[in-house]
């Protein structure tokens, strides 16, 4: 586990610089240097007065599998909201007005949540790896875009 800083909360009181034993928290880009950060040390996490630092995992616990009926219903909800988003994005008149943009964004957020509860909560999970493998095998061709083979292969390595 290493520390990461949420720049949205960081108030630059810099107490993390006082406590870090390896100077991992003092960097030019504002982020903590993971290569110097001591595994599980958490001194900066506990002393930060603005609660801007947290620990993130190198390896993640495999989530409990979803019940088949839950996966089925939440995939159906995902597809439905994705279709509604697609319908909104197809409207031609005057391009994407603010209301259309808002509806599309809202529908996307709901669809993503359904995807999480159906199967894909954690990127580093069996479900995600199986999906990447299946895409690399099936190579579904959509529209006129080039299939993102290199991206999926790199993700397969990283996940």
């Amino acid at each position: 586990m290493h520390a990461v800083r949420n720049l949205r909360f960081c108030t630059k009181d810099c107490v993390c610089l006082f406590v870090c034993p390896t100077k991992a928290t003092d960097t030019e880009n504002g982020q903590i240097d993971a290569s110097k950060c001591l595994d599980g040390c958490r001194l900066c996490v506990d002393t930060c007065p603005s609660h801007a630092i947290s620990l993130t995992m190198e390896t993640w616990v495999e989530p409990a599998p979803k019940a088949e009926a839950v996966a089925e219903k939440f995939f159906a909800l995902l597809d439905r909201k994705a279709s509604e988003e697609a319908a909104v994005k197809k409207v031609k008149k005057g391009g994407q007005t603010p209301i259309l943009k808002a509806l599309a964004k809202s529908l996307r957020i709901v669809a993503e949540d359904a995807a999480r509860e159906a199967a894909y909560m954690l990127p580093q999970s069996k479900a995600t790896r199986a999906l990447i493998d299946r895409l690399l095998e099936e190579r579904p061709q959509v529209a006129q875009k080039p299939f993102p083979e290199e991206e999926l292969k790199e993700l397969r390595e990283l996940m």
């Binding site: 089925e72 995939f75 994705a82 008149k93 957020i109 790199e154």
Partner: protein, 149 residues
């Protein structure tokens, strides 16, 4: 594929951003981009009027045809995370329906002097001067809202 991959991959991209894994996030975004625009939509054509009529009907049907069955499956499986999603999506679906219907009637007058804010956590849509302090659906704070330009 048997399910929509665009939202699956944008969700995984956002998850990687939360883990501060920028390379993985970038790759997941690219895969999401590949799938975006690949769905047929609701077979309502591309006209504003027919799309909003189809959308209003779709939102109307969503509750009974999609959200209630999802909620029942989550309850049976004692899956409280899934049940949480069903609760949020039911509330957000009602808002989506209301926005679509009001916009179909009032057009851009609906927005006069106002902005639109979306809760990034649950999809709640707010039309007003300033985003709410706390999301009424999921209780996320104001900083989780983004403004539509």
């Amino acid at each position: 594929m048997e399910h929509a991959c665009g939202p699956v991959f944008s969700n995984l991209a956002k998850a990687c951003e939360k883990q501060s894994r920028t390379r993985e996030a970038e790759l997941f975004w690219k895969v999401a981009d590949y799938f975006d625009g690949s769905l047929p939509g609701l077979a309502s054509g591309s006209e504003m009027g027919s799309t909003f009529a189809a959308l209003s009907q779709a939102f109307q049907d969503d509750e009974d045809e999609f959200i209630a069955p999802a909620s029942a499956a989550a309850t049976d499986a004692k899956d409280r995370g899934a049940l949480r999603m069903a609760v949020w999506s039911s509330k957000v679906n009602a808002i989506q329906k209301s926005v679509a219907e009001r916009y179909a009637k009032q057009g851009d007058a609906l927005l006069e002097g106002k902005s639109i804010f979306i809760c990034e956590a649950c999809g709640f849509i707010f039309i007003g001067m300033e985003a709410p302090e706390i999301c009424p659906v999921c209780k996320a704070p104001r900083l989780r809202f983004s403004q539509i330009s």
